[in-house]
């Protein structure tokens, strides 16, 4: 997140850690404010009882997208300098599924588990221990899985490039998708709100 300023040498290793720390504190603060320090609230998402995760994440996407689009248009941000993660299609599909299963089972994603740990939740402690165990296991197993992990490399892709659409149209479509999604989310909540996990109504 502190790229490209760090990479271009505008500040050094130590200061980049300070920047990362400040960004991390800010990120954690807003996760906690959104209620994401609670595994119950997070897992309610998967039972369609509380769509806060969907709302917060999609709102963040739309805000960042509109902000970057207009700042780029005004010439205040050079979009060609923004880091785009390279795509490794199948490894990322597999990784996404693995993370999703872990999210449902454990009640947290990596970021929210640290937020919950900061407020002293013991289940988050177990979850974070699991993260480190997983990192260790991946590191040990890396020679066996690196072939897959680096397969189907598609480079740096953006939606306008893939869809051959103007960026502005993609922006509008994503906004409409978000607004439609929020409307649908409210309908789902009304339908499922009363139900507890595993009990009918």
């Amino acid at each position: 997140m502190n790229a490209p300023l760090f990479k271009f040498g505008l500040f050094g290793d130590e200061f980049s850690l300070v920047v990362a720390f400040l960004i991390g504190i800010g990120f954690g603060f807003f996760l906690e404010r959104a209620g994401f320090g609670s595994a119950r609230k997070l897992t309610d998402q998967f039972y369609l009882k509380d769509m806060a995760v969907f709302r917060v994440m999609f709102t963040a996407i739309v805000t960042a997208m509109l902000g970057l689009f207009y700042l780029g248009w005004l010439g205040w941000v050079d979009l060609s300098l923004v880091y785009v993660s390279p795509t490794f299609l199948w490894p990322q599909v597999a990784g996404g599924l693995l993370l999703g299963v872990g999210f449902v089972v454990g009640g947290y994603c990596p970021g929210t588990s640290l937020v919950a740990l900061a407020t002293g939740k013991l289940d988050a402690l177990a979850f974070v221990a699991g993260i480190f165990a997983g990192i260790f296991a991946i590191g040990e197993a890396w020679p066996a899985i690196s072939g897959f992990a680096e397969s189907s490399a598609l480079g740096r892709l953006t939606l306008p490039e893939v869809l051959h659409l103007p960026a502005g149209l993609v922006v509008l479509l994503v906004v409409l998708m978000a607004v439609g999604g929020f409307w649908g989310a409210a309908a789902l909540e009304r339908r499922f709100a009363g139900r507890g996990a595993g009990e009918g109504s």
């Binding site: 490209p4 990479k7 149209l169 922006v171």
Partner: protein, 225 residues
């Protein structure tokens, strides 16, 4: 809300409407673009050149490679045959005419080198004109890399302890790159052929199994955002 009149919009509905309005504006704009502008601030470029902030010394580059840094791309601008004979570990060959089509992203740190430094200076200018913000030149090119990093000169017998310690470090580093220390006289004597290209070894790579020469050994960078 008063009964009988149309309900007023909630705050969320207003925000959604605002987002849709901005989205429609984006549709009209079409492409935020990087403007396609080529801005060349001659004074700024001159200041960069004078301040020598566009340089990376061979010592710095060697330390980066030893430290395993992956946050830069090293570009060899020389001919194919020269590249095949020797290149700095991790370098990829991009001819100066190929810079236009090379997949160099603007958000990358790019270090250029050629044999002496003239080509890299020219390539530096080409990339700067195309708004690449972080382009650097290996000072003195490959020639100075060989002199300074691969074949450091042994200090005179009467050299101070500090100079000796610095030399010991340089010699150890030279060995890890496949080079060796040389006596001071060797630089002037006909023993100049001592500056033959060593095998392309990067520190950390077992010297018994050097990567096949000529293959771009640069791996995909992994970095978080």
């Amino acid at each position: 809300m008063s009964a009988g009149r149309p309900a007023r919009w909630t705050r969320n509905q207003k925000l959604a409407a605002g987002a849709v309005a901005l989205g429609l504006g984006a549709l009209l704009i079409g492409d935020p673009g990087d403007g396609g502008r080529v801005t060349l601030d001659a004074r700024e470029l001159a200041a960069l050149v004078e301040g020598e902030v566009d340089h990376v010394t061979p010592d710095e580059l060697a330390d980066w490679i030893v430290a395993g840094r992956q946050d830069f791309r090293l570009v060899d601008l020389r001919a194919e045959a020269d590249y095949a004979a020797y290149h700095v570990p991790g370098a990829e060959r991009i001819p100066i005419t190929g810079l236009e089509d090379a997949e160099l992203a603007r958000n990358e740190k790019i270090v250029l080198y050629s044999q002496e430094g003239i080509h890299s200076a020219q390539a530096w200018f080409l990339l700067k004109a195309r708004r690449y913000p972080a382009v650097y030149i290996l000072l003195g090119g490959l020639a100075q890399w060989q002199e300074q990093v691969l074949y450091p000169v042994r200090p005179e017998a009467g050299a101070g302890a500090e100079e000796r310690a610095a030399f010991e470090r340089a010699a150890a580093r030279a060995a890890s790159f496949g080079g060796a220390a040389r006596a001071a006289a060797a630089g002037l004597a006909p023993a100049v052929p001592a500056l033959v290209p060593p095998p392309i070894t990067a520190p950390g790579v077992a010297p018994t199994a050097p990567p096949p020469a000529g293959s771009p050994v640069k791996k995909k960078k992994k970095e978080g955002c």
